[in-house]
């Protein structure tokens, strides 16, 4: 699965975005500077603490998730679609790589891009609101949980990006996926507010949004705060974060399996 061939493809994918920071890393850095400046510095002082945290600190995990998944998705979908559009994906398809190796390489590279962007956003956030271990209940367990969650969600959206890149018929389709599906789900994914601020009905509706679980998990990992822990019945309180991670991991594996299947049948790739 991690052969010389898949490493070569991974390296090629990595090089593509690392050598173009102006296109890949600068935009999310600038966007988040704007978010922090407007929501944090200008409006933040007029907004009360949320769930006991300074507003800027409260939204930071959500912004990290937003940047991470958007970039993981965008990288995978662009790489696949651009390769199809210009047909240079044939270089990969005519090689002896197994379909699993191809998917693993594409997903791994896109997940890495998502994670790098997540770290950049965290660094930008730190400049505006220097969070420390004391900011939340940041423990070794939480750190491991945070890393695991970030890896899983970046891989999940890289996997979705593969599907997007295979399904898209032109560049507009990619924009539609990002702007009309991904962003609304993230913005209604409790990035800028706490679920506890919603009416019960809106809370239930929110539970249908997978982004809610991702944002909450990362917030739990980074700050030690989970809306679910406050909303869930006491009997489930201790397992809620792990359950979220478990479901996300299962979903990621299912999406990757679908990716491999699509490569195998040549969906969008072969005639």
């Amino acid at each position: 699965m991690w052969s010389i061939g898949s490493r070569a493809l991974f390296k090629r994918e990595l090089s593509r975005f690392v050598r173009r920071p102006k296109n890949t890393f600068m935009p999310p850095a600038i966007t988040n500077v704007l978010y922090f400046a407007v929501f944090g510095v200008i409006l933040g002082t007029r907004i009360d603490d949320v769930a006991g945290y300074e507003y800027l600190l409260f939204i930071l995990p959500g912004l990290i998730v937003l940047g991470t998944i958007a970039n993981a998705f965008e990288n995978a979908s662009f790489s696949i679609f651009h390769g199809r559009w210009n047909e240079y994906i044939h270089e990969t398809l005519t090689s002896p790589l197994s379909y699993l190796e191809m998917v693993v390489a594409y997903v791994a590279a896109s997940a890495v891009r998502g994670l790098i962007v997540g770290v950049i956003i965290a660094a930008v956030g730190w400049v505006f609101v220097p969070f420390t271990v004391e900011s939340g209940s940041f423990t070794v367990e939480n750190a491991a949980f945070l890393v695991a969650t970030m890896v899983v969600i970046s891989a999940l959206f890289a996997g979705f990006g593969i599907i997007g890149g295979l399904v898209a018929r032109d560049f507009d389709d990619l924009t539609v996926m990002n702007q009309f599906i991904l962003r609304p789900l993230v913005f209604f994914g409790a990035v800028f507010y706490s679920l506890t601020m919603l009416e019960p009905f809106a809370q239930y509706i929110s539970l249908l949004n997978p982004m809610v679980y991702m944002v909450d998990s990362v917030r739990y990992g980074l700050l030690g705060h989970s809306d679910f822990l406050e909303l869930a019945p006491a009997a489930y309180a201790e397992v809620v974060p792990l359950l979220s991670l478990g479901v996300l991991t299962a979903l990621t594996l299912a999406v990757l399996a679908l990716d491999v299947y699509l490569f195998k049948i040549g969906y969008g790739l072969t005639d």
Partner: protein, 329 residues
Amino acid sequence: MPPAIETNDLVKEYGELRALSGLDLTVEEGEFFGLLGPNGAGKTTFINILVGLVRKTGGEAHVFGHDVESEYQQARDAIGIAPQEFNVDRFFPIREVLMHKAGYHGIPTEVAAERADDALRRVGIYDKRNERFDWLSGGMKRRLLLARALVTEPDLLILDEPTAGVDVQLRHDLWELVTELNEEGTTILLTTHYIEEAERLCDRVAILNEGRKVTVATPDELKTRGTDTVSLTVEPTPETTPALGPYAHEISQSGDRLEVKVDNGSRITPQMLNDLEAAGYAITDLEITRTSLEEIFVDLTRQADRTVTRSGESESAESTEPREQEGVV
């Protein structure tokens, strides 16, 4: 050793369109094999099935004994392909493009770098190694496609219209290079529109038309299937066109000049001379014009009437199959 390529009843359908209709073809290891056919004959579809860019609808295809679908990794590892289209990664300098391709074939980075340099030197664009594909001239792009196919040192090199639109010098360079590769043991499958190219390079050629194999033969064998023209000047000037045997498909006369269409000019001419002399004519001039491979190609692939004239008999394209299969594969 299994054949380099072996297909049985290979079918590819695009909805209503049948691009390949039960193609049986075998290319032996070490052969220089040509695929000829008009546009839409199914040549590129055939190639793309071998490398995994097109999924067959039916039949079987093997590369060195490996099924192209169930053993796709082994099959693809044996193939280097230089396609018609410029499907090259534009993000990287060409040396890196070749290194990536070698890497996908499991070649470690250091070796891949050496292979990339060797391949670029071999096709004569080593000094452009740090340029990107878009910056190369048309001829250099063509060379790069060949270098990319060579970087994995394939046992089977597939060249899809490699000299389309290139200048004479480059065409000759490419011919020299692929001949060299074939002499080194690489099996070569070449598709081309240039009859001269097939005639010059190929051990055998298959002519495809509308997804079917019309014939497989050596270029020389193919030529014998065409109709030669024997031009003669006779004395005295015939009052009526002389009658000749059934070997003469068509006789035309203009004064003392006769033009006779026959299948194999050099074999038939002595008998024709005897017949004319027996009829009281002396031959004062003789010229045999052989059919060009191009004319035979056109004849074989003519859509309205794919009829091959040969020794007074008419055969449909399909009915040539049993005969040429004797010598094939």
